[in-house]
């Protein structure tokens, strides 16, 4: 459901989508705002998300940055961008994504007894 916005919009009530932080809806009305709790990944301990990750991860710019990151990892970012002058925003986005990937890897390798996602 989380990765299928069309299905979510068809099957869930508007109130439920507000609670999940649906990006396709306007900001939640005051009576629902305190109950907005978008899904967040295991081990994530940053600021509380405000928007459903099903929406944010399908934004064209986010997909573009994830693709750019893959090419950056292979030293092919300039080729991906089609220019030697890689846009500053792309570099910034790749850096942020790489940082998030690092955080996830650290959590994945940390034993669950210490708050991580690995056994032990």
């Amino acid at each position: 459901m989380l990765s299928d916005c069309e299905r979510c919009m068809n099957e869930l009530t508007t109130e439920r989508r507000y609670v999940l932080g649906c990006g396709y809806l306007p900001p939640a009305p005051p009576q629902l705002a305190p109950f907005v709790r978008p899904w967040q990944g295991l081990g994530y301990n940053g600021p509380r998300p405000t928007t459903c990750p099903g929406y944010t991860t399908q934004l064209p710019v986010v997909i573009e940055l994830v693709r750019a990151h893959r090419h950056w990892a292979k030293g092919q970012l300039e080729a991906f961008c089609g220019t030697r002058a890689v846009p500053e925003a792309v570099l910034l986005g790749v850096e942020q994504f790489e940082s998030a990937v690092g955080d996830f890897e650290a959590w994945r390798l940390t034993p669950s007894s210490r708050g991580g996602g690995a056994e032990g």
Binding site: G23, Y24, P26, P27, P47, R48, P49, T50, T51, T56, Q58, L59, P60, V61, E64, L65, A68, F80, C81, G82, A85, P87, E88, A89, V90, L92, G93, Q96
Partner: protein, 153 residues
């Protein structure tokens, strides 16, 4: 063809007052619908049946182009309307479904920008809406150039 938002290549914008768009009457819902379309590139849901809006294809501005624009605005003491028009010309690469008008590019002080003819055409054929188009699109180009990544947690 509608092109999604991009940090690398050209993207499509449609003027909020385009008669082909069907927008909510409530101002808040209207604003949200437009923000959503600009963010997701899903304009199709706003276009009325059998309607064809005028589409503007724009490029993300390189930092040097934005710096040149800011410098020019200061040096030449441009009015808001002139500054918006110049910024739009820097970003604009194509207009579709706007009569026979086409975007032609030329170089000025090392920058590649649309000739003033397309702005004149917008003013001439759009009337007051033409100025609104330039202001709205110029504002969106400015926002994307100033802060290309708009975090949404």
């Amino acid at each position: 063809m509608l092109k999604p938002p991009s940090l690398i290549t050209t993207y499509t914008l449609i003027f909020s007052g385009d008669p082909a768009l069907v927008l909510p009457a409530d101002p808040k819902e209207r604003t949200h619908a437009l923000e959503l379309a600009r963010e997701t590139g899903r304009w199709e849901t706003l276009i009325g049946p059998d309607q064809t809006p005028t589409t503007f294809e724009l490029r993300p501005l390189p930092g040097t182009a934005f710096d040149w624009w800011m410098g020019t605005v200061r040096r030449e003491r441009l009015s808001d309307a002139e500054a918006n028009a110049l910024l739009l010309r820097l970003a604009l690469r194509k207009v579709e479904h706007f009569g026979a008008h086409r975007v032609e590019l030329h170089r000025l002080e090392g920058q590649e920008l649309a000739t003033p003819a397309i702005i004149d055409a917008l003013y001439a054929e759009g009337g007051e809406a033409g100025r609104q188009i330039v202001a709205e699109l110029g504002g969106e180009v400015f926002a994307r150039a100033e802060r290309a990544l708009r975090p949404k947690s």
